[in-house]
């Protein structure tokens, strides 16, 4: 092969990973990250387009060819800093962004060959910067004396906290749980996003001077109004879309049926996968069924495998093509031996004499006309009911808006699904001085969109404070 003409294209560099048979027995991260050599080869594939379409696909306009050029020059720390100009959390986004539907989807190489592995390079430089211990603090401007309260320490809250403190404002983050990070801490498993990385990002903010107060649910005890009364000049709501959604079918409250939020929170936040070293228990089903086709379902089903399931099955009402999960997650789940049952929807759960789920009555579906989302709507096939035996179920069919903030903040406009109405460009809500962004505005979306919304709101809050 070496004697082929030198015009032979360099293939997209594969990501080194833990072997499927090994990794399904542990919670360590699955992709191991590029070596320096692989990163250099991959970076050499980039054409440095004059008109880089990849950037159009990035919700926060990262200078992609720019950082890849710095990789080629082995200036990894500079590359990380360049990304951080527009993306505060590259080590996280490099791991969890759906690149195939964003930057990589538009990369010109993708037309004939495979696109540049932009996400993997992003991860490489961010990890390089972090592990090299070269995360220096930027100089902060003189204090403006203005105080901002950020409610929720997910990607949106953490991003805006960083941006506002760098503009000289005093920032306090109020987080309901005992650990900051939002979905990054309680939802996404260790094998996909090591918690040490989230902790490092939080630690960086603390070193910048952000005050993070955990165990503070705003709306219970203190309200948004109380925050203003305490002297905060503006409030940002980044409380996520954290309410569980069930299907409201018979038997759904049987023991052994979890919402994905509960299942993942027990495993990730409470570290139930290390029970009894950690105190919180979790059911270890042998035949586990997970409902839904998104990232949350993949995370749940792969967690179940790691917790000892003999059989772990995704039940999804449409087909593989419609599954919203990242390609990589679906692929990893398949490699690990997850079974998929498409065009199927549960209609009822059956329990045993102890009130524990033992089976699920399902109905077959077929795809009909496209719905609002452009995907073909699944419709039940009459008379096609059948039984799936199962001893544990995780319902991962979406989440809703938690009502705590909307119901305790007078004058805050919400839409008919309970999400906060906010200006797309500024995050401004119907209440002066109150801004919002992330999942609580859009409904469940992505880390990068939450971060992008927070960046816009940071600019708007800065202007608001300078005017005031």
């Amino acid at each position: 092969m070496e004697n082929k003409p030198k015009r032979e294209k360099t293939p997209r560099q594969p990501m080194p990973e833990q072997e499927p048979a090994v990794r399904r027995t542990n919670f360590d991260e699955v992709p191991l990250g590029y070596t320096e050599g692989q990163a250099l080869v991959e970076a050499s594939r980039c054409l440095r387009c004059k008109r880089p379409f990849c950037v159009d696909g990035c919700p926060v306009d990262v200078d992609i060819p720019g950082f890849i050029a710095l990789v080629s020059e082995k200036k990894y720390t500079d590359a990380a800093r360049l990304i951080k100009g527009t993306n505060s959390l590259p080590s996280i986004c490099g791991r969890v962004c759906p690149q195939e539907s964003q930057c990589e989807k538009f990369c010109v190489l993708g037309k004939k060959d495979k696109p540049v592995a932009i996400g993997r390079l992003e991860r490489f430089v961010a990890d390089y910067e972090r592990t090299a211990g070269d995360v220096s603090l930027p100089p902060l401007p003189a204090s403006t004396g203005k105080r901002v309260a950020v409610v929720g320490a997910g990607p949106a809250g953490l991003t805006i906290a960083g941006d506002l403190i760098r503009r000289g404002h005093e920032v306090t983050v109020f987080e309901g749980l005992h650990k900051p990070g939002g979905v990054l801490i309680y939802g996404i498993p260790e094998f996909r996003l090591p918690k040490a990385i989230v902790d490092a990002e939080v630690d960086y903010l603390v070193r910048l001077g952000v005050d993070i107060k955990t165990n503070m649910v705003i709306g219970r005890g203190k309200t948004v109004d109380d925050l203003f009364a305490e002297g905060y000049d503006a409030v940002f709501l980044g409380v996520g879309a954290g309410a569980p959604v069930f299907m409201n079918i018979p038997g759904e409250n049987l023991s052994g049926i979890y919402s994905a939020n509960e299942y993942l929170t027990r495993s990730n936040l409470m570290k139930a996968y290390r029970f009894p070293e950690y105190d919180t228990p979790i059911a270890r089903g042998k035949r586990v069924t997970v409902l839904g086709g998104g990232n949350v379902s993949m995370d749940s089903v792969r967690t179940a495998l790691r917790l000892g399931a003999d059989k772990a099955t995704i039940v999804y009402r449409r087909t593989r093509a419609e599954m919203p999960a990242r390609n990589e997650e679906i692929h990893h789940a398949e490699e690990e031996g997850v079974a998929f049952q498409f065009l199927t929807n549960p209609v009822e759960y059956l329990g045993n004499d102890k009130g524990w789920v033992r089976a699920m009555k399902c109905i077959r579906m077929e795809l009909g006309e496209p719905d609002d989302s452009g995907r073909r709507r699944p419709v039940p096939v009459e008379g096609s009911e059948f039984i799936i035996e199962t001893d544990m179920v995780v319902v991962a069919i979406g989440t809703g808006a938690n009502p705590v903030i909307p119901t305790t903040t007078p004058g805050l406009e919400i839409n008919r699904w309970g999400y906060i109405t906010a200006d797309e460009e500024t995050g401004a809500t119907s209440r002066p001085g109150v801004f919002a962004g992330g999942d609580i505005v859009t409904g469940s979306a992505t880390v990068i969109l939450a971060m992008g919304a927070a960046k816009k709101a940071a600019r708007a809050i800065d202007e608001y404070l300078n005017r005031a």
């Binding site: 005890g221 009894p276 228990p281």
Partner: protein
């Protein structure tokens, strides 16, 4: 981190603790609870706020030692710090001037009934308290409830103190005696609350119960605490913990409370408290 100020045993396995939590003390209302973690590896467990002292910035909790976390908590002492005290959580008790109210407390539920009875009394209700336990030695808070009730009736299952019998029997007698009762509040073990509701249902007395399902976040995020009330599923941590007892599916609550029976036993058997010695 919250400093433990005081600890005392109310009976062999019921402990009263006063912990520092100034924000919670300042805003909490009757019927609300806190979530505590003893240490970073601990479980999040909900406990009712029994009393608060705004000036001292403290709240009082009363808990029964039933498993790993409560055993661990009972081993902690004044001067130690709790990893997490989160609250106030849950909807406050709906307090109005109802007229004559009866607060029924069983076992450690007497601690949960106390703040409700106190708030009812402060709102101008006539408060009759019926408290009971299996036997005299484990009956708690008799004096405290006596001080805020117009009438206090105590009962023990074995007759070692007060009336012999269940609190529900006492309530039945009270109803049968023709006493006008406008509302009943019942807190205690699930079977007790169920029987109280069976007693008040035919008499048509509105009855509020305080439910104790297993919780994780206790902020409405996870759905662990779901209970069936009427034909609806509710989240006890944000929609409750108090509900119309005549609508509650107690059987479901009982089975769901047993969900981790095996793991709870394992945790106790392997018990090594990692919260002390810090």
């Amino acid at each position: 981190m919250s400093l433990i100020h005081k600890k005392r045993y109310l009976s062999a396995n019921v402990v009263e603790m006063i912990v520092e939590a100034p924000d919670i003390a300042a805003t909490r209302k009757a019927g609300q609870f806190v979530v505590i973690m003893t240490d970073e590896r601990g479980e999040r467990i909900p406990l009712t706020i029994v009393e608060s002292d705004v000036a001292a910035g403290t709240v009082t909790i009363i808990f029964q030692i039933v498993g790993k976390t409560t055993t661990c908590l009972a081993d902690m002492n004044p001067g130690d710090e709790l990893y997490t005290v989160l609250g106030p959580l849950g909807r406050p008790t709906e307090i109005e001037k109802f007229g004559t109210t009866v607060c029924v407390g069983g076992g450690v539920g007497i601690g949960v009934a106390y703040p409700i009875a106190k708030a009812l009394r402060e709102a101008g209700n006539r408060v009759v308290s019926i408290i009971g336990a299996r036997t005299k030695d484990i009956l708690i808070l008799e004096d405290a409830l006596g001080a805020i009730s117009d009438r206090l009736i105590t009962a023990t299952d074995d007759g070692s103190y007060g009336v012999k019998g269940f609190v529900s029997d006492v309530l039945q007698e009270l109803i049968d005696s023709g006493e006008r009762i406008d509302r009943v509040f019942a807190v205690g073990p699930v079977p007790m609350m169920k029987v109280v509701c069976d007693v008040t249902r035919p008499a048509g007395i509105p009855t509020v119960v305080s439910l104790n399902p297993i919780m994780v976040d206790a902020t409405g995020m996870c759905g662990a605490c779901r209970v069936a009330v009427g034909n609806e599923t509710k989240l006890a941590c944000v929609d409750g913990p108090e509900f119309d007892g005549h609508q509650v599916d107690f059987e479901l609550l009982t089975t769901r409370l047993r969900m981790y029976y095996r793991e709870e036993k394992e945790a106790m058997e392997q018990f090594r408290c990692h919260c002390d010695g810090k």
